[in-house]
Symmetry: C2
Subunit: 465 residues, 2 copies
């Protein structure tokens, strides 16, 4: 299992890292300043050239309609056949709308879907290649297809039937779920979380087209202000005069081994001659499986860990990556890396078994723990990205702290797996001193205590932080 | 089901097309002239530049040891740990040795295997990309791995324990069969022929390395002289002053619809301005599933069809493609096309559902019939190849012959599927006049008659022609 996270502390910029007081960033639903969304048309045309790595396809795609068109588009949407978006569909609309998947301009048409499945990459009109490993698709069923009929556009609506976006110049094609699953996950074993959540019950057709999002997606969960778009992140990196941006994807609580790694990475980049490497600390905010710690609790844990002061707020940007999680190992890690190029990162830290999990049926990990970094280092369209493989950190009993594993004295090291960590927290026990700051650990214990006791054979329901 | 084949007739060059008399080319075990194998070291270094399309990687790989080294290599092989090759393994040694998979220099190491599974392509040292969609790998089991121990080379031996090749600088890595199957076939359903034949029972490790083949692979089945290597084919195309080579992959008996297509393709190429387009008529000669017509019978059928005289022998080269068949649809069609680039073809004809078959469990075709040509047209590393999609031919009842289907008068056309054709031949019935020449049809009837009557629930055993 991959687990990446890190510590950071007080920040001078409250919209980009955690405020110091506990209450403020959960008690109100702060909105992100929308300046970078206010004139999307200009954004779509301007080539971002602030010294950062170019977005895939040369320019960052943003798919919002302009303020002035909003009412007209809403009226248009009402007249169109409707497709109701699931929670995960909406997360993908969010991802597409902000250009994480640049140069994709909407849900995939068949040619993009096939290239993704077979080549993990897309060839553009000019012959260049961008990485694209995970299908970003929207499923419809027979009756929805029937209702769409000959219409060339559809409205995408939320659970309250409010129009979220328009999909135009649509193409409807077959959704061969078996083939999609086999080629994306390298298995068709039952029990893979994303598949059960989003594919098994989905329709037998996929609908692709050009997306126009009526207004930026908000979740109103107190965390929206941490959801910076690639454009906003690029602005921030530019403002900070970053000459290197190193991204760290995480979906687990943060421990001191992660912090060690981050600090060490910055040190290595400085040694390489960079003057101002900035860390993009980027927890995944979309769908995760039931036994992962929910986003709100992770953010609360990160905040406590922050206060412990290990990383420099001047050189750390914390933000939420809006993508849902596939748990598709070497296939998915490419998506995680590619999306960060679009946000301006030119270094990507990759650990053991990224986006991996246990095989749902057999007693083994689903993926070879080394395949993620190997595949990532060879992936088409990611040649511009510098891959930084993770050094292994473990608890050094002789120093009572997390340290890089020394193979010459293995007996001194204790490996604390995610499962071990969760078991300790569930039982209200403490890890060894120096594994995680006490405040952060308390959040984890609190989270597991908050779970309603599970009935026999039932998974406890997570509650919001 | 894809079925591609075609008619051709008397040829002035007996080593490149069928001799007119029936007996000669099966009664003796003729060997191919080996001139192009006699100095493999030079071949390996010389860039083939005869006006034909360049091989992948810029030069054609040939992996034979030179005549002068042969004895020494044989002695060396005897001293090495041995791996016994299956029939299919030996076919892959053949494929690799002649450079069909150029620039591969042996069975895949892990980095090549992973790139094949994830990207259907390999990135070379100079940054260029070649297509490679099907894993060409050699499996070993735990006990073989144990016997190899620390050795850096192994001998590959045939069923009689005679050394066939040496594999050097070996790398042994895990054979995750489930993942290999899922990513190659897009399904893990039981009952896929290549998997049952070559993967299910194979070892849990793969061994890659540099291949040196002690002497060219021969089958001594009377058909070896039709097994022209890519180098020999290139020589032949050059000798004929071909300015375009169009390849036709087939593994089924030939009917008049195929002939129509071939003639029409040549006509189109002439219209495009080519002066001397040459057809590479290229039946697959490696492993095929039990209910396909065996190679020896197909060649016998092709010969009869030849005599009917539809295609010009001056512009047709017939040869056997030594690869085994995966039945992996859109993934495999890329391999079929890529290998033909190495043999000098710059046009590739692709039909409906190439390399497809029925789903082994569900009542449907395994692949979407259009995906093969779509994937082929977008595949990385195949940009230089011109893809010619197949026009649909069917039996025109008004003309009593095969003709291109006219959607304005569908009622006039009869589609005779492979299954229908086999059923007719099995029952000794005749197809409509003009579907296939009578001599060719008789061979098919003869083949089905030759099968030992199947017991209840048993598949009849094919017998050699």
């Amino acid at each position: 299992m991959a687990s990446m996270a890190l510590l950071f502390n007080k920040s001078p910029n409250p919209s980009l890292s955690f405020p110091k007081t506990h209450k403020t960033h959960y008690s109100t639903h702060l909105k992100l300043p929308l300046s970078h969304h206010s004139s999307p048309k200009t954004h779509r045309k301007i080539r971002i050239s602030c010294g950062l790595i170019d977005p895939d396809g040369g320019k960052l795609v943003e798919l919002f309609v302009s303020e002035s068109e909003r009412d007209e588009k809403k009226r248009k949407a009402v007249s169109l056949p409707r497709i109701k978006l699931s929670r995960i569909d909406l997360q993908w609309v969010h991802v597409l709308s902000e250009g994480w998947a640049s140069p994709l301009k909407g849900f995939m048409r068949e040619s993009e879907f096939l290239q993704t499945l077979h080549f993990n990459s897309l060839r553009l009109g000019d012959g260049s290649v961008v990485n694209m490993s995970v299908p970003i698709v929207l499923a419809v069923d027979d009756s929805q297809k029937g209702r769409i009929g000959e219409s060339t556009s559809v409205a995408l609506v939320d659970s309250g039937d409010d129009p979220v976006a328009i999909l135009s110049n649509i193409e409807i094609y077959k959704h061969n779920k078996e083939e999609r699953i086999a080629r994306t996950w390298g298995t068709t074993a039952p029990g893979l979380p994303y598949i059960e959540e989003a594919i098994t019950g989905a329709g037998n057709w996929l609908i692709g087209g050009d997306l126009e999002v009526i207004q930026p997606i908000k979740y109103c969960d107190g965390l929206d202000r941490f959801r910076l778009s690639p454009a906003a992140l690029r602005e921030e990196f530019t403002r900070r005069n970053a000459d290197a941006v190193f991204a760290f994807q995480l979906r687990n609580p943060v421990h001191n081994g992660h912090a060690l790694l981050m600090t060490d990475t910055r040190r290595r980049l400085l040694e390489m001659g960079y003057k101002n490497p900035v860390l993009l600390l980027h927890p995944l905010g979309g769908y995760t499986k039931a036994d992962d710690v929910p986003l709100s609790w992770r953010m609360k844990q990160h905040e406590k860990v922050l206060e412990d002061g290990v990383l420099d707020p001047e050189t750390t940007v914390v933000s939420i990556f809006p993508s849902p999680m596939h748990y598709a190992g070497p296939t998915e890690v490419q998506w995680h890396a590619k999306a960060r190029i679009n946000a301006g990162a030119n270094f990507y830290i990759v650990g053991r078994d990224p986006a991996g999990m246990s095989h749902p049926v057999e007693k083994r990990d689903l993926y070879d723990a080394d395949h993620g970094k190997k595949v990532l280092s060879m992936a088409p369209g990611l040649e511009r990205l510098n891959i930084l493989p993770f050094k292994v950190a473990a608890y050094d009993k002789t120093q009572s702290k997390m340290a890089f594993f020394d193979p010459l004295r293995p007996q001194d090291f204790l490996f604390i797996s995610g499962t071990k960590m969760r078991t300790l927290a569930k039982n209200g026990e403490n890890p060894p001193d120096g594994f995680m700051c006490p405040g952060g650990w308390e959040v984890l214990v609190e989270y597991y205590n908050s779970l309603a006791p599970a009935g026999k054979g039932k998974v406890p329901e997570p509650v919001p932080a």
